[in-house]
């Protein structure tokens, strides 16, 4: 197991390095920040732009810029924002907790919903509760997240007026963004739990467990669920990337002050350091989550542990 984790850690380092390289390169294709900073006014001379580029260090060759960025990462310094000069690390430190909170809450809500629903659907395979759950899941899958977010705002804030439409003002501002994400995650997870449970329930050891006189609850949640967990855990690891992507949009709709909003503004403002910083940190989290997923495999299934 230790060797396995070490191997995965080494892999993770390479993945993060590759991400930083791709990001640094890609942001520089998005346009010239100097023009953005000058506000596109009429009387900007090429000399002014040149001065700005010089001040921002953009006139240096790409690899020189990349390596200074890389050097900074190791000491937690992502440079300063082109807009306002705030250190990127400060911006990230402000935005990261609210995004992580949103991501993990929606993930937890989704697990709490999809596991019992998926198990229930599997047990009642082909009967009406199963049909209903499958139809609902398909409906959930068909919603684009931004549309769902807007509909929620319409319903809860404008029609019913019970939840604040945007911003981060208190626990209640948390409900809609988390729910939007959770519904979309649940729609896929419920199907995954159902399929995986059906597979497990057809195994002979489940019949053995029943022949021992165990109650349904024990058979389903002790004997079957753990054996069905591997696909779910794998998918959650993969989902985390998509979850982060989805959060960028959902944060936008709810004006949620997180990494998504930070990244979005950085893209529109060609704010290279902020964009590089946010994406690197998010990539680091995705890699970390997947490492945890690999470790979780071993905890769930002894066959993987002793390999």
């Amino acid at each position: 197991m230790a060797g396995f984790i070490l191997k995965r850690l080494l892999q993770a380092i390479f993945v993060v390095l590759a991400v930083t390289l791709i990001v640094s390169f890609a942001v520089r294709l998005s346009g010239d920040p100097a023009i953005m900073l000058m506000g596109g006014g009429g009387n900007v001379t090429e000399e002014d732009l040149q001065n700005i580029r010089q001040a921002l260090g953009l006139e240096r060759p790409f690899f020189v810029q990349y390596f200074s960025f890389l050097q900074g990462i190791f000491v937690g310094d992502f440079g300063r924002s082109f807009m306002g000069g705030t250190p990127v690390s400060t911006l990230i430190a402000q935005a990261l907790p609210s995004t992580l909170l949103l991501a993990f809450t929606s993930l937890l809500v989704s697990i709490a919903l999809s596991v019992p629903l998926g198990v229930y659907a599997a047990v009642n395979r082909g009967r009406w509760p199963d049909q209903l759950i499958r139809i609902l899941s398909l409906v959930g899958l068909s919603f684009p997240n931004f549309w769902l977010a807007i509909m929620m705002v319409l319903l809860f804030s404008i029609v019913l007026g019970i939840l604040p439409p945007s911003g981060m003002e208190g626990p209640e501002s948390f409900i809609m963004p988390a729910l939007t994400m959770a519904i979309i995650l649940t729609a896929t997870n419920v199907r995954l739990v159902r399929t995986s449970m059906l597979e497990t329930l057809s195994q002979q050891y489940i019949m053995v467990a029943r022949s021992k006189g165990l109650a349904d609850r024990v058979v389903l949640y002790k004997h079957a669920l753990r054996n069905s967990a591997i696909p779910l855990v794998t998918y959650i690891g993969l989902q985390f990337g998509g979850l982060i992507g989805g959060i960028v949009i959902v944060e936008r709709v709810f004006n949620w002050p997180g990494m998504g909003t930070l990244a979005f503004d950085a893209i529109s403002g060609r704010d290279y350091p902020v964009l590089q910083g946010t994406i690197t940190v998010l990539a680091l989290f995705i890699v970390l989550i997947n490492l945890l997923v690999d470790i979780a495999y071993g905890l769930i299934d002894p066959r993987i542990r002793t390999e």
Binding site: Q203, Y205, M207, V208, G213, L214, N227, P302
Partner: protein, 627 residues
Amino acid sequence: MSDNKAKPDSASAPLLSVRSLSVEFGTGGGAFRAVKDVSFDVQPGRTLAVVGESGSGKSVTSLAIMRLTDYTGGRIVGGEVLFRPDGTEALNLVEASDAKLREIRGNDIAMIFQEPMTSLNPVFTIGNQIAETLTLHEGLNTRDARTRAKELLQKVRLPDAEKLLDRYPHQLSGGMRQRVMIAMALACNPKLLIADEPTTALDVTIQAQILNIVRDLQQEMGTAVIFITHDMGVVAEMADDVVVMWKGEKVEQGPVREIFAAPKHPYTRALLSAVPRLGSLTGQPLPKRTPVIVMDGGEPKQVGETHIQNTADYTKPILQVGKLTTRFDVGKTFFGRVTHRVHAVEEVSFDIYPGETLALVGESGSGKSTIGRTLQQLVEPTGGTVRFNGRDMAAMSQADRRRLRQEIQYIFQDPFASLDPRHTVGYSIAEPIIVHGLIRDRKAIDRRVQELLEQVGLQPQHAKRYPHEFSGGQRQRVCIARALASDPKLIIADESVSALDVSIQAQIVNLLMELQERRHLSYLFITHDMAVVEKISHRVAVMYLGQIVEIGTRQAVFENPQHSYTRKLLSAVPIADPERERAQTRIEGEIPSPVRPVGQEPAIHQMREVEPGHWVAIEPERLRGAA
């Protein structure tokens, strides 16, 4: 028959009475009745064998007793299951509440299933799974349950019980897992044990040990046993009483000796006629085809004839295998260095002659299948030579090797998995003809396919059908037709009849022998089943841990076995004859693993010739004795 009321005062009241039990699957017009109006009794402490072939409803019956059919989509549509745990009051399990059933399951009635590899939950330890039953039914605390679990493991003769408690199922062999399963089933001293084909998936020497354990514990604990099986040999060894099932119905019932000595129902007679009996060819040097009674629309019909298989021509071998060695790397360090190797085949030598059947027998891990795969060029050998018609395979060009694939064909064990479900069987049979470019004309290919289908006992128009439209036996016939398509000289049959019901098996064995005579084929017949080997083979090679330990004519090896492993293998085979004395020698021990650390080469046995053509490996004991 409908003895509904229990007799409260009767001391000899049966422990379990199944009365007119019917079980259905599916609903409405598509409902399928798997068990029809079946009745039988189980007396306390006795063993009832429920015998039948696939589709007979025997397993459904066993599940229905504990109402486990509720979880497989089955419905009990009629009848009663009366259970008298304390000999007096009868409880009808068909109408019992879920709570009552849970109280009985695992406590008064326990069950052992067929597949030991999948009947233990892979994510919990052995100790945990045994203790679970004890805490549930006997209210033991964790520590006491663990102590009892350990005692139970010792009872089923598992060594190192303490350590085993913390092991996971995947760390145990199939035989060990089945013992754990037995320990688990017997945890609460059940009155009735239902064993559904508990040894079918095990090697014979392990089967013999498991049967012994069940028998011993049954005597010790006074448990009644319902033994579900298709194997008449196991029935003869285990049962006091027998119920024969056919197509969902009970066709015959009686004490085991009566069933074997004077079967009344035609199906029972057919079944017994098909069972290969070890020792049936004693004194006869050549294999023999014998007629089989099959049920044809409810009526018994005799097919085939008695015919001595004098086909082998010992002038020049068609295949010569010399010091063949095949190893696989397993287990790698962090840096990718190989730490362990499977020594699947170690310096194995044998010849096969035209028209001859050489049986390669052995248990799991003996390397018998690897030899077959190596000859079919599916696996590259590590060393040694293979000569076909005198030509060295290693020295052949690519084109010649391809031609060799045409001359050596393969029939696999599983007729379900070895036919492409998306193609007609005609297409599958035609494929080798097209691949090897044997016939170019489309019409001629069709004619050839039809001819082949007729040769294996199918109809020419079957060519247009898909595999799922055939039964298991018919599919194996299709596989044989496909193997014959390229007009081979040698056919490697790897456990080709092992998965078939005995009546089908007997017919396929006869078919293979008929084809051998007609087309002068050689067979390398790979199997673990000694009784089938006796029927079909001219010569026999016994394999153990990658090496041949004994080779000779079938008569020599079976009637004068020299190696201790050959003797063990022969004595482990259950004989379908309840009158026969049970072998006194106890078989012990696991089958060792062929996986070895790199650098630790296995010792190669020296062979000595005990009589002309009968070679035996010299065993270490004998070496010491001679010194």
